[in-house]
C-alpha cells in the first residue's frame, strides 16, 4: 500500500499561555478510513481538530494533505481542500427552515432551487431523511445533526470530522448515523471520529489515536481492543467502575411530584403535562429522553426557577414547596444541578468561592442578615475543591477558567456537600472525561447511600442504566410510567424516547402543518 494518507500530521505542537495543548502529535488517516480520536477532556482533541479545520494555526510541525504539505489558514481553506466538520454544538437559526440554514453555511451563493435539488440528492444517497422546508424549531436534535451532516456532505468532503456526534442521539439514531458514516467511508471519504464513548469506537472505527495530556499515547486497532483497555490507555490508569453497594430502596418518600403541568416558557420550549413521580430516600431515579423533550423545563420546575400552580404539587419530605423559589426549596433540602454548567449552574466570570455563595449561602451559613461571610464561602469552596479533586488554583480562580469536567465536578461537589435530602441533576457527566464521570457517579451513589433521594435527568442511557434503580422516559413533556431498571431493555427505552422514529413524528408533523 503506497497510497499517500489522506491526512497526515507530523510533530504538530500548539502552545497556549500556560499549557502545551498538543505536544508533537503525529497522526495519519488513510483514504476511506474511520479513524477515532480518543482522549479525556483537555487531552487536546479539540485543539488538534481546530488546527486541521483551520481555526487555529500550529506553532510547529506540519500538516500533509494527500502527501503535500499545506498551511490551512482558515476554515474556508480547509473546506476547499475537502475537509468537512460537524460540530458538537449546532449553529442553526431556530426560526428558519432547513434549506435557509444550509444556504447560510455555504461559502458561495447557490439558487434556492438548485440547492434544494442538491440537498435531496445527497440525502437520498446517504439515506438521510429530512424535509428541507421544515423549520428548525420543529426538529429533533437528531434531525438537527443531520442538517449539519448534509451541510458538510454538500461539499463532497474527502475528510469528515465528527465531534462527539452521538451525545444527543437515541440508540436508533446512532445506528442510522453509523450506517451513513460506513457508507461514506466505503466511498473513500475518510472520517475522523472524536468521542470518548468507547464501545462506539470499538463498533465503528478501524484505527484509533489516543491522546493524553496533549501527547499521543497509543495508536491501536479498536477491533482488537476492548472498551476497557482503551479507556485505561485514555486515562492512564485503571478504570474503576462505580461501586453500588447493596441497595435497599425501602426508605421514606423524600420527593413527591403530583400532576405537575406547566405551559411552555417560550415559543421554542416544551410544556410539561401532568408529571407525577415519587423518589424514596436512598433511591436514584432516572429520567431518560432525547434532548429538547422538556428536560430543562422539568429541571427548572423542580429546582424552583418556575413555580408550580399549587404548593402541594411538589413535596420535599412531606413539606409542600410548589410555590417556593429556589432558595426556599434549598432550605427544605432540595438542591439541583442544571445541564448547562457555564451561565446556569455557575457564573464563569465569578470566582469559585463566589459560585459557592450562589447556591450554598443559606444552607452552609455564609449568609447573615443580608451580609456575606466571605471567609465561610472560601472555606467551603476549598473543601469542595479538595473533596472532589477539582483541578484549579483555588477558591479565587474564575469558574470560567476551569475545564468542563473540572467545573462539573465543582458544581456537583458544591451541591452534594450541602447534604441535600433531594438532589436533582441534569446531564451530570455531559462532555465530561471518563475519569471525572466515574468520580461523579460514585459521588451520587454515595449520596444515595446516605439516604438522599436523587433524580438524574440524562440523555446517556448507559449512564442511567448503570446508576439508577428506576427509570422513566420524558417525551414531549410527558413522563412514562417509571419502571425498575432490571425490567426494561435498551430497545424499549429507545422506542419510548421516540426521537424522529417514534411517537413524535405525528406531533412534529402537526406542528409543521399548523
Amino acid at each position: 500500500m503506497s497510497v499517500a494518507p489522506r491526512l497526515e500530521l507530523i510533530d504538530v505542537s500548539k502552545r497556549f499561555p500556560g499549557v502545551l495543548a498538543n505536544d508533537r502529535v503525529s497522526l495519519s488517516v488513510k483514504p476511506g478510513e474511520i479513524h477515532a480520536l480518543l482522549g479525556e477532556n483537555g487531552a487536546g482533541k479539540s485543539t488538534l481538530v481546530k488546527m486541521i479545520y483551520g481555526i487555529q494555526a500550529p506553532d510547529s510541525g506540519s500538516i500533509l494533505w494527500e502527501g503535500q504539505e499545506v498551511r490551512i489558514a482558515h476554515p474556508r481553506a480547509a473546506r476547499r481542500l475537502g475537509v468537512g466538520m460537524v460540530f458538537q454544538h449546532f449553529s442553526l437559526f431556530e426560526a428558519m427552515d432547513v434549506l435557509e440554514n444550509i444556504a447560510l453555511g455555504l461559502d458561495g451563493s447557490v439558487s434556492r432551487k438548485q440547492l434544494d435539488a442538491e440537498i435531496r440528492l445527497v440525502m437520498e444517497k446517504y439515506g438521510l431523511k429530512l424535509d428541507p422546508r421544515r423549520q428548525i424549531s420543529t426538529l429533533s436534535v437528531g434531525e438537527r445533526q443531520r442538517i449539519e451532516i448534509v451541510r458538510a456532505l454538500l461539499l463532497n468532503p474527502r475528510l469528515l470530522i465528527m465531534d462527539e456526534p452521538t451525545s444527543v442521539l437515541t440508540p436508533q439514531e446512532v445506528e442510522d448515523l453509523f450506517k451513513t458514516l460506513r457508507r461514506l467511508a466505503s466511498e473513500g471519504c475518510s472520517i475522523l471520529y472524536i468521542s470518548h464513548k468507547l464501545h462506539e469506537i470499538v463498533e465503528l472505527c478501524e484505527r484509533a489515536t489516543i491522546l493524553r495530556g496533549g501527547k499521543v499515547v497509543a495508536t491501536c486497532d479498536p477491533r482488537q481492543e476492548t472498551a476497557r483497555s482503551m479507556g485505561e490507555m485514555m486515562i492512564g490508569s485503571d478504570l474503576r467502575d462505580p461501586a453500588r453497594g447493596q441497595v435497599s430502596v425501602e426508605g421514606p418518600v423524600r420527593l413527591s411530584v403530583r400532576d405537575l403541568s406547566l405551559p411552555k416558557p417560550d415559543d421554542f420550549g416544551v410544556a410539561l403535562e401532568q408529571i407525577s413521580f415519587q423518589v424514596k430516600g436512598g433511591e436514584i431515579f432516572g429520567i431518560a429522553g432525547v434532548a429538547g423533550n422538556g428536560q430543562n423545563e422539568l429541571l427548572e420546575a423542580l429546582c424552583g426557577e418556575h413555580l408550580a400552580d399549587l404548593h402541594t404539587v411538589i413535596e420535599v419530605d412531606g413539606a409542600p414547596v410548589g410555590r417556593s423559589g429556589p432558595s426556599g426549596r434549598r432550605k427544605h433540602g432540595l438542591c439541583s444541578v442544571p445541564e448547562e454548567r457555564n451561565g446556569h449552574a455557575a457564573i464563569g466570570a465569578f470566582s469559585l468561592s463566589d459560585n459557592a455563595i450562589l447556591t450554598a449561602r443559606s444552607r452552609m451559613g455564609f449568609e447573615n442578615q443580608g451580609f456575606i461571610r466571605k471567609a465561610g464561602a472560601d472555606e467551603f469552596a476549598a473543601d469542595v475543591i479538595k473533596t472532589f479533586a477539582v483541578k484549579t488554583l483555588g477558591p479565587d480562580a474564575l469558574a470560567g477558567s476551569l475545564s468542563g469536567g473540572n467545573l462539573q465536578k465543582y458544581v456537583m461537589g458544591r451541591e452534594i456537600m450541602q447534604s441535600p435530602g433531594v438532589l436533582v441533576v441534569s446531564q451530570p457527566t455531559w462532555g465530561v472525561d471518563a475519569g471525572s464521570a466515574a468520580f461523579i457517579h460514585q459521588a451520587l451513589i454515595d449520596l444515595a447511600a446516605q439516604g438522599s433521594a436523587i433524580v438524574v435527568i440524562s440523555q446517556d442511557l448507559d449512564e442511567l442504566l448503570r446508576l439508577c434503580d428506576r427509570l422513566s422516559v420524558i417525551n414531549l413533556g410527558k413522563l412514562s410510567t417509571p419502571r425498575p431498571v432490571g425490567d426494561v431493555s435498551v430497545q424499549e427505552l429507545g422506542l419510548l424516547m421516540g426521537g424522529s422514529h417514534g411517537a413524535s413524528v405525528h406531533d412534529a408533523g402537526g406542528i409543521h402543518a399548523a
Binding site: F16, P17, W65, Q68, E69, V70, R71, I72, A73, H74, R76, A77, R80, L81, C303, G304, E305, G325, P326, S327, G328, R330, S336, P338, E340, G343, H344, A345, A346, I347, G348, A349, F350, D354, I357, L358, T359, R361, E367, G370, F371, I372, K374, L398, G400, S401
Partner: protein
C-alpha cells in the same frame, strides 16, 4: 508585520484599571490635534482644560461642587450597570428630586427647625426613586426597555419643572422671572463642614461611596446584582428575582439622582430654567469611566468635574467655544467604550513571516 487581536482567557484586571487612564490621556492628545486643526493653541487649550483646575487652588471649590452631584448620581447608576440595567434618565430623577425638595421648601417657607433639611432630602430622594419606578413598572410588567423609557421621562420632568416655576411655585417677589422663591437659611446646608473647607456635598458623596462599596462587596443584595448582570439564568437558579433587581437598582439610582438634585438645589438656593445641568447624563460617563467601582467612580467624578471647570477656563483664556467641555466628555465616552476591547483581547504583533503557503486563499 501585522496586528492581531487574540481573546484573553480571562479579562485583564490591569487593563480594567488602565484603560480609563489611557482613555483620558488619549483624549488629551486628540484634543491638542483637534484644537490645533481648528486654529486654536491646542496644547494650551488642553492645559487649561485639564490642569489649571487642578493646579489653581481657587478652582478646587468649583471642581468639588460639580464633582459631588456627578459622583452621587454615578454611584447609583453604577449599581444598575453591574446588573446590566441601564438607567439613562437620571437627569429626570435629579430634577424630580429637586422638585420634591422645593415642594417641601415651598410649604416650610416661614418655618424653622433642624428637621426641614432632612425632610427635604428624604422627600427629594423619594421623588427620584418613584420617578425611576415608572420605567421599572414598564420593564417588569410590559417588557419595555428601560433605556428608552427612562430617557423619555427626562423630557416629561423638564415640562413639569417649567410648569411649576412659571405657575404655582413662581416666586411672588421675583419680578415675574420663572423661578421659585429663594430657600431660607433653615433650608440649606452650610457652605462647608465645620469650617474645614470641605463641601457638604462632597462629604455626602464620600459617605455614599463607602456605603455602596459595602453593599456591592459585602451583601447578598450586591452579590445578586452582580450575578444578574453576569448570568441572569444562573442568578435565577441561585434564587434571585430578576424583576426584584430591576426594581431595586432603578429605584436606588433614582433616589441617588434625587439626592443630588436636592443638594444642587440647596447650593443654587432656587429652581429656575437653568437648573437642569446635564449632570444626570454626564454621570453615565462617570460611572463607565469609573468602571462602576465606588473608588473609580469617585475619581472619575472629579475628572469630569475638572472638564466642566476647565472648559470655562479654556473658554476665557484660549477662547475656545463653550461646547468644549461637552466635546471632551463625549470623546471620553467613545475612548472608554473603544478601549474596552483591550480588557478582553490582547494585541499581538506578528513579526515572523508565515511559512510557505501550500494553500492560497
Amino acid at each position: 508585520m501585522r496586528l492581531r487581536l487574540e481573546k484573553r482567557l480571562e479579562p485583564s484586571r490591569t487593563m480594567l484599571v488602565m484603560t480609563p487612564v489611557l482613555s483620558v490621556i488619549a483624549i488629551m492628545i486628540l484634543g491638542v490635534i483637534i484644537f490645533d486643526g481648528l486654529g486654536y493653541d491646542g496644547p494650551q487649550a488642553v492645559w487649561e482644560l485639564f490642569f489649571t483646575p487642578v493646579l489653581d487652588v481657587y478652582k478646587w471649590r468649583d471642581v468639588a461642587s460639580k464633582a459631588a452631584p456627578l459622583i452621587i448620581i454615578a454611584l447609583g447608576l453604577s449599581l444598575g450597570n453591574q446588573a446590566k440595567i441601564w438607567n439613562i434618565g437620571a437627569e429626570g430623577q435629579y430634577i424630580l428630586g429637586a422638585i420634591g425638595a422645593a415642594g417641601v421648601a415651598f410649604v416650610t417657607q416661614s418655618m424653622t427647625g433642624f428637621w426641614i433639611i432632612p425632610l427635604m432630602i428624604l422627600v427629594g430622594m423619594t421623588c427620584g426613586a418613584f420617578y425611576a419606578a415608572i420605567p421599572a413598572v414598564l420593564r417588569t410588567r410590559y417588557g419595555v426597555s428601560e433605556v428608552l423609557s427612562s430617557l423619555m421621562f427626562v423630557y416629561v420632568s423638564l415640562q413639569l419643572l417649567s410648569y411649576l416655576i412659571t405657575g404655582p411655585w413662581k416666586d411672588p417677589d421675583g419680578h415675574n422671572f420663572p423661578q421659585t422663591a429663594q430657600l431660607t437659611d433653615a433650608q440649606v446646608l452650610p457652605h462647608e463642614v465645620w469650617n474645614s473647607g470641605i463641601l457638604p456635598g462632597l462629604l455626602i458623596a464620600l459617605i455614599v461611596a463607602i456605603i455602596f462599596y459595602i453593599i456591592v462587596s459585602r451583601t447578598v443584595f450586591g452579590f445578586s446584582v452582580r450575578a444578574i448582570g453576569e448570568a441572569p439564568h444562573a442568578a435565577r437558579y441561585g434564587g434571585f428575582s430578576s424583576n426584584g433587581i430591576v426594581w431595586a437598582t432603578l429605584m436606588i439610582s433614582g433616589a441617588m439622582a434625587g439626592l443630588a438634585g436636592v443638594l444642587e438645589l440647596m447650593q443654587l438656593t432656587r429652581l429656575n430654567l437653568g437648573f437642569p445641568s446635564g449632570y444626570g447624563f454626564t454621570a453615565i460617563i462617570v460611572s463607565l469611566l469609573g468602571r462602576s467601582h465606588p473608588i473609580g467612580v469617585f475619581i472619575a467624578g472629579i475628572v469630569l468635574a475638572i472638564t466642566y471647570v476647565g472648559g470655562q477656563v479654556a473658554q476665557t483664556v484660549v477662547h475656545v467655544p463653550n461646547a468644549t467641555a461637552g466635546l471632551f466628555q463625549a470623546l471620553l465616552l467613545f475612548a472608554i467604550l473603544a478601549s474596552d476591547l483591550l480588557v478582553r483581547y490582547r494585541v499581538r504583533i506578528n513579526v515572523s513571516s508565515p511559512p510557505k503557503e501550500g494553500q492560497r486563499s
